[in-house]
Symmetry: C2
Subunit: 340 residues, 2 copies
Amino acid sequence: MPHADTNHQWVLARRPQGLVEADDFERRDAPVPEVGEGEFLVQNLYLSLDPAMRAWVSERGTGYMPPVPIGGLMPGGCVARVLESRHDDFSPGDLVLGMFGWQDYALSDGGGPLRVSKVPDGVPPTLPLSALGLTSLTAYFGLKEIARPQSGETVVVSGAAGATGSVVGQLAKLSGSRTVGIAGGAQKCAWLTGELGFDAAIDYKADNVRARLSELCPDGIDVYWDNVGGEILDAALGRLALHARVVLCGAISVYNSESPAPGPANYLNLLGRRARMEGFLVFDYLDRIDEAMAELLPLVLEGKLRYREDIRDGLDTAPAALRDLFTGAHDGKLMVQIAS
Amino acid sequence: MPHADTNHQWVLARRPQGLVEADDFERRDAPVPEVGEGEFLVQNLYLSLDPAMRAWVSERGTGYMPPVPIGGLMPGGCVARVLESRHDDFSPGDLVLGMFGWQDYALSDGGGPLRVSKVPDGVPPTLPLSALGLTSLTAYFGLKEIARPQSGETVVVSGAAGATGSVVGQLAKLSGSRTVGIAGGAQKCAWLTGELGFDAAIDYKADNVRARLSELCPDGIDVYWDNVGGEILDAALGRLALHARVVLCGAISVYNSESPAPGPANYLNLLGRRARMEGFLVFDYLDRIDEAMAELLPLVLEGKLRYREDIRDGLDTAPAALRDLFTGAHDGKLMVQIAS
């Protein structure tokens, strides 16, 4: 298939200080690479923007990926179309999902931090990044393997209007739990209780989170799913039920801070409550994607798992859009359309 | 059996501020109680002194026991002799273990926070408080149910020269793990590596704990058993191996602080390392004491599980001895002999 001569890319220009800024990235033009034996070339269609990207560009990096070097291509999950292939498993025209990065074209051997997978026929091309994306897989495996909410238990989710949190709440609700979401703003909270079926919502920008958790969880929190860290994690730790499970899924409140944030003073409540706090990364479960898809796809198609997409137009909007991810200036799963 | 008319007791005089002081307690004389139907009277022989007592007398209390009220009898685990009984399961002369408190005599119905159990014939009377005590049961069940060290894994224990920590290290070593103990002072460290068979020891009073953990655990910490909290917990969290287990067993460094101590800033490493931090209380496993005894008693009798006892003379030494527990001015499992 024909393609342009130039591969537009966005690289890391400098280490962000605090909140990520558009100027932390810069555009670079590169030639479109040649396809070698065992490789294939894709054209990116949609790029996913995720909170973890802030950690990827920090000096500290993450436990699972080295920091992106200055001048290095920004990594990112994409849905892409295979243009040329010298790889047995991929053919021109295939719609695929992989870590192809902030660029128009990418070369792949099918491996990498996230094994490249094919998007099944009939699945709309944005779904693998939104309702069927890594965020949904995170919710699915984290609930199934770590949190294991039981019918009648109280599940509290922070970042509840986010791509992961909204699915955590809906799946927990489908499993018979009482669900309480924590989100920023009345509009997001109304969406949680009105459309997504959460039993209650706490607006952390307006409410006293500790007081509201006490009111809404009189018997304590059985499962706390943490996407944010900081004060809200500490508040939830102070309200655990016996044998509670705390899933550490992210810490968006601290990703932008340069100095290490203080730890949760209430951690010792894990002792009195014989509770468990466990870190969780979806990357450990990628060999079970098919199992998750078999459960999630019907829920999405039947409208039982609802979601929103916020699609920005053009690769060059990615740096500013990433900033919006942290300021809350987005409405649903944030992605960038690179090509149609 | 004959007994005195007066029951000497020690009660909580005031809430301790910071380090517990002898003056925080006061002596009270009470009549020896009458034995009602279904009850029995014991004479205490040995009283165990434990770090958790500091939490019991704090305003905050613990998740498993309400705070001791001002003027209330100090609780404590004791080995005692049954003097009179109107209870079907206990007879005069029986040696029993129970939460009988800081006093000469106690009335019991066999229940309470710790079910009263009989000390098997032939077991020396201090063993149920030392090598076979709650501290050893804590080590046994915490390793078996929470930490699950595998052969070849690296196990790090803080408070390693303490009654719980020393048993954790020895049992972990017997299961084939590499064991590193953290303790205060060269003498304690020499005891760990010389007599108890720890592979290495870190003297937190003299060494840089973070640097030594890096040296001694090049592949990370698979199991960290925390008896101390604070800085040392944070250092260990910064050095976790993938899928590490952190057992929260106590936090002696914060029991004496009145303001909540800062939480461990490195908690987020649980996420990158997909690790688990879990609170653990031996009280949840007391119905399995027999199983633990069947494993521990032979180890003690064969000298494979070594221990030290620091026995103070007379109930009136208890308040000062409790202080020694926190300053490190003791040598082995601390207890008070109340009667012979």
